[in-house]
Symmetry: C2
Subunit: 195 residues, 2 copies
């Protein structure tokens, strides 16, 4: 059995599996959708599970030939502060995660990349959302910020930074955004292994 088939088998056979008894859309906002489900646990008891429905997202670690990484400064309203992040955005209906990554890189930074490869996939909020973020490594960059086309209400400033500088910030607790931090750890590990 392949590793992924084995994983799927384990999930199906999990002794912890909760079964959906009913599912209701309880809030439909401008951006957020909330569902409230009744779930049956293996011991037969019923419990309420409330969660945020999310379309998934893609994020891009764009690495220039000179080793510099394309970063963004963006204000994140729920946190009331500015973050240093890699480019990212939600998956539109009908898009593959790679198509989203390519579109978002162009829209947010004006850049295109020749070489794309999956870096890793993360699940940021497993307690209350089904959000998944697909992180890609993009190389062979061209373009410029003049070609960026931001969404309405989106303010982004781009800048280039080195992996060493960014990892210093990770270790100092100054890069708490999870997609950005995890992308950087994976890149650092790849570089260490290929050195």
């Amino acid at each position: 059995m392949s590793e992924s088939a084995n994983e799927a088998f384990n999930q199906a056979q999990s002794s912890l599996a909760e079964e959906t008894v009913s599912s209701e859309a309880v809030y439909q906002g401008v951006f957020l959708q909330i569902r409230r489900d009744q779930a049956r646990l293996p011991d037969g008891s019923l419990h309420t599970r409330e969660w945020v429905l999310h379309p998934g997202a893609s994020a891009i670690l764009a690495l220039a030939d000179d080793g510099q990484i394309l970063m963004e400064r963006q204000w994140r309203y729920p946190m009331g502060r500015e973050y240093l992040e890699i480019p990212a955005g939600k998956i539109d209906a009908g898009e593959s995660p790679l198509q989203t990554a390519q579109r978002e890189l162009l829209e947010e930074t004006g850049m295109r990349a020749q070489h794309w490869e999956p870096l890793t996939v993360i699940h940021p909020a497993i307690g209350f959302s089904n959000e998944v973020i697909h992180i890609f490594l993009a190389r062979g960059l061209s373009g410029s910020s003049e070609h960026a086309a931001l969404d309405q209400g989106e303010q982004i400033e781009t800048l280039w930074m080195s992996l060493d500088d960014l990892m210093d910030r990770v270790l100092a607790g100054q890069l708490p955004d999870v997609k950005t931090q995890i992308a950087l750890w994976h890149l650092k590990e790849r570089k260490a292994r290929s050195a």
Copy 2:
């Protein structure tokens, strides 16, 4: 100016800062609270910001003297699958993050720790929630799973694993839970620096 004072100064002076014009509780569920705010951007335009209010959480990387790490298997309903995670839970009213970590370690695993230190702090869902997770490193462990006292509707199985085994899973994409993965990367880095 200290590094943290410098950071606070930067945030206050951010050219990207959005100002709250109004804020409304639009959904109060069993577990989730949603707020919908009107925000004024630096260009004067008004935009809707909808977000999940979260009390914050603590997570515990519990490291035994022999190097084994205390892990949990837990079903996460929004994702419809089982995860391998470090112990964690939400901050109760009046608790410090450290108190939450100590309470959750005991409730979920029956273990206590003599030595506690902050490992890092992460912000998992900056686009739609104010959630913060405080990750602690706990050492000097004692106790046993017989002393665990799970919340109603909570099913958790504990197990011990090595850092090497866990990092293999991180690199294979089998540990997508962000608090767990980031805790492991920081521990690995600490070990590399002290070696």
